[in-house]
Subunit: 355 residues, 2 copies
C-alpha cells in the first residue's frame, strides 16, 4: 500500500483506476478497448457528453460558458489565451505568483503588451501578491490559483473590472469557485482531475472574437467550441479517466464535500508542521496551499533520513521541488485522509527518534 | 471476438492492451498506476527513452534528426510546420491529395504564401496527383502519404530539391521509408502506432531556425527538442502505449516484416473486391492504399444488408466515410490477416446469397 503525495501527475481514486484498466481491455462490454474505438462512436460521444455535463454540474457553470477538453496542457493555454484575447496593440495584466505565472506572461509577450501588476519573485514566491490595482484598459487579468512548487494558494480572488483568466491546474475541483467571476478557467488534468494528456478549459463565449487576429484552427477557442472538443481526434482515454474521476467526485458529494475533506487534511498536516520541532513551513501562513504542503527540516541533516524513513512506510512523492528543497506533500482530492495521518505519524515517530 | 476494421483510433495489438491495462493498475510492479506517477520519475523516463530509441531503430532514423512525442494531433502540426518553417514573405508547396492535405494548406496560409502545386479535388480525391514540378524557391514541400478517407496512398515519394514535410498519420510504420529523404515526418499515433493523444514528429534539426519569427514555446520544435518532449507534462499513458506497440512491432520483425504482412492483407482483399461481382473499388488501382481499403456495392440496395451481415460476424468499423460512402476496411499493422479472411469469407458468402 503506497501513500502517493506526488505533485503531479498525481494520485487518482483507486476505483477509477480499476474502471480505466477494464476499459483498456473491454470498454463497456463491447468487446473492444476504449483505445481502439472511433471518437465518433456513440460509446465515446457518451463519455465526452457526460464529462462536459459533470463539469457543468460540479462547478455550477452558468449559461454562456463553453466547456472544452483540449490537448497540450496549461503550457499551451499560456499561448492560446493571448492568441485569442490579446490584441497586438493592447495589453494584458499578469500577477506573477510563481514559475508557471512567469511562463504564462512570457508567452503573452509574443502577442501583445504585458503588464506585470504584482510579483512575489523577490521572496522566491513564498506569498501571494495581493497589493495591486487591476488596469481597466487591459484585455484581461491573468491569475494562477495555486502554486504547486511553492505551496501557496489564492484563497480569495480579487475583484476585477476586466475578464479574469485563471490557471487552476493544481486546485481545480478542490474547492468551490464562482465560475461567473471568470472569463476563462483552464487546468491541466493531471493533478486533481485525471491523467496527463488533457486540459480542461471553461470559457465565457462572449469574450472571444475581439483580438482581431487570424488564429490557427487548433488554437482557436471558437473552432474548438464549434467542434465540441472534436475538431480533431481528442485524447480519448484521458477524457474517459477524467470523466470517471468527476463521476467519483460527484458520488462523494461534489465539490462542497471534497472541500471539507481537503480542509481537514490540510489543517491536520499544517498543525503537525507547526507543532513538531523538527519541521517548519515554507510559506506565509495566510497563503498556505491546501493542495501542496511545502515544509523543510530545521536541521538539514535530517532531510535524507526522513525521506528514507517515509519511503519505508510507503510514503512516496514527498521530495520538494528542486527550487525550494525540503518536502512537498501534495494532498489532492483523491488522497485519503488516512494517508495524511500516516505521514503525520511518521513525522511524530521520526521526531521521537531524533530528539 | 471482434474484427476491428475501424479507421482510427484503430486496432491495437491484444498483448499491448493487456500490458497497458496492467500498467493502469500497477505499473512495473511499483504499486502505483502509470497514470499517477511523475513524468520525471525514472520509471517514465525509461518509457520515453525506449519509445524514442524504438522509433530510431525501426525507422533507421539517421543522425541529425530529433524524435518528438507531442500533443495536439496532426491538426496541430498543420499549424506548427508553417509556424516553424514558412517565412512570412516566403511560400510553401502543397500537394492536395485529400481533405487532410487541404486542412494542412489552409493552416499554412496564416503564416505565409501557399502554392498548391497539384490537386485531385475535381475527382473527389480518387487518385494521387503526381504531375507536378516542385518549386525550388519554396520553403518546403508538404505531402500526405496516405488518405484515410479515400483509400489512396503515395507509393513512391517524389524527388524534391526542398525539404519534404510528410503527414504519415495513417501509414506510419506500415512500410519502409527512407527518413533521410524528409525534413519532417509527423503522425497522429491513433492509427498505426498507439492511442489517440500523442503525435510522433521526426524532424531534421538543420531545417529549423530559418523562418525568422517568434514562436510560442509549445509550438516551437526547438523548445520541444531541448526539452526532450518534456518541456511540459507529456501525455504519459499515450506514450507508454505507443512504446509498447513499437516494442510489439520490433518483436514481429520490424517494419520490413510488417510490410510483407500488410502487402499480403491488401492483396487478398483487393483481389476479392475485383473478383466479386457485388463489389467494386473506389480509387484508381495504382494508387490504392494498403491501409484503408475503400469499396462500394454495385447495387445500392445491398449496402445496409451487407453491413448487418458483417456485424453479425463480429466485423466492425467498415462503414465508409460519409464523403465517400460504401465501405472502408482499415487494415492497420495490428489487424491480423485472419480478420481479413473473415471479411473476404463474408463477402463471398454474401455474394452467394445475393446472386
Amino acid at each position: 500500500m503506497k501513500h502517493n503525495f506526488g505533485a503531479g501527475p498525481g494520485i487518482l481514486p483507486h476505483e477509477v483506476l480499476k474502471q480505466a484498466a477494464e476499459a483498456v481491455v473491454n470498454f463497456n462490454g463491447i468487446g473492444l478497448s476504449v483505445l481502439e474505438i472511433s471518437h465518433r462512436s456513440s460509446e465515446f460521444e457518451a463519455v465526452l457528453d457526460e464529462a462536459v455535463s459533470l463539469v457543468k454540474e460540479l462547478f455550477e457553470v452558468p449559461a454562456g460558458y463553453s466547456v472544452l477538453f483540449l490537448q497540450g496542457g496549461a503550457s499551451t493555454q499560456f499561448a492560446m489565451v493571448p492568441y485569442n484575447l490579446l490584441p497586438e496593440t493592447g495589453k494584458a495584466a499578469y500577477v506573477e505568483s510563481g514559475v508557471w505565472a512567469n511562463k504564462a506572461l512570457k508567452e503573452a509577450k509574443y502577442f501583445g503588451g504585458v503588464e506585470v501588476i504584482a510579483t512575489a519573485k523577490e521572496s522566491n514566491f513564498t506569498y501571494i501578491p495581493k497589493d495591486f490595482t487591476v488596469p481597466s484598459d487591459a484585455a484581461y487579468l491573468h491569475l494562477t490559483s495555486n502554486n504547486t512548487i511553492y505551496g501557496t494558494q489564492l484563497h480569495e480572488f480579487p475583484a476585477s473590472p476586466i475578464p479574469v483568466v485563471c490557471d487552476m491546474s493544481s486546485d481545480i475541483f478542490s474547492r468551490k469557485v464562482n465560475v461567473a467571476d471568470f472569463g476563462i478557467i483552464y487546468a491541466g488534468a493531471q493533478k486533481n482531475m485525471g491523467p496527463a494528456g488533457v486540459t480542461l478549459v471553461i470559457v465565457k463565449d462572449d469574450i472571444l472574437g475581439k483580438a482581431d487576429r487570424k488564429i490557427p484552427a487548433m488554437l482557436n477557442y471558437q473552432t474548438q467550441i464549434e467542434g465540441g472538443s472534436m475538431y480533431n481526434t481528442p485524447p480519448v482515454f484521458a477524457i474517459l479517466v477524467s470523466m470517471l474521476t468527476l463521476r467519483w467526485l460527484k458520488a462523494k458529494g461534489g465539490v462542497e464535500a471534497i472541500e471539507k475533506e481537503n480542509d481537514a487534511k490540510a489543517k491536520a498536516l499544517y498543525a503537525e508542521i507547526d507543532r513538531n520541532p523538527l519541521f517548519k513551513g515554507v510559506c506565509v501562513p495566510e497563503d498556505r496551499s491546501k493542495m501542496n504542503v511545502c515544509f523543510v527540516v530545521e536541521n538539514p541533516e535530517h532531510e535524507k533520513p526522513f525521506l528514507k524513513f517515509c519511503d519505508e512506510k510507503g510514503i512516496v512523492g514527498i521530495k520538494g521541488h528542486r527550487s525550494v528543497g525540503g518536502f512537498r506533500a501534495s494532498i489532492y482530492n483523491a488522497l485519503p485522509i488516512t494517508s495524511v495521518h500516516v505521514l503525520i505519524d511518521a513525522m511524530q515517530e521520526f521526531a521521537e527518534k531524533n530528539k
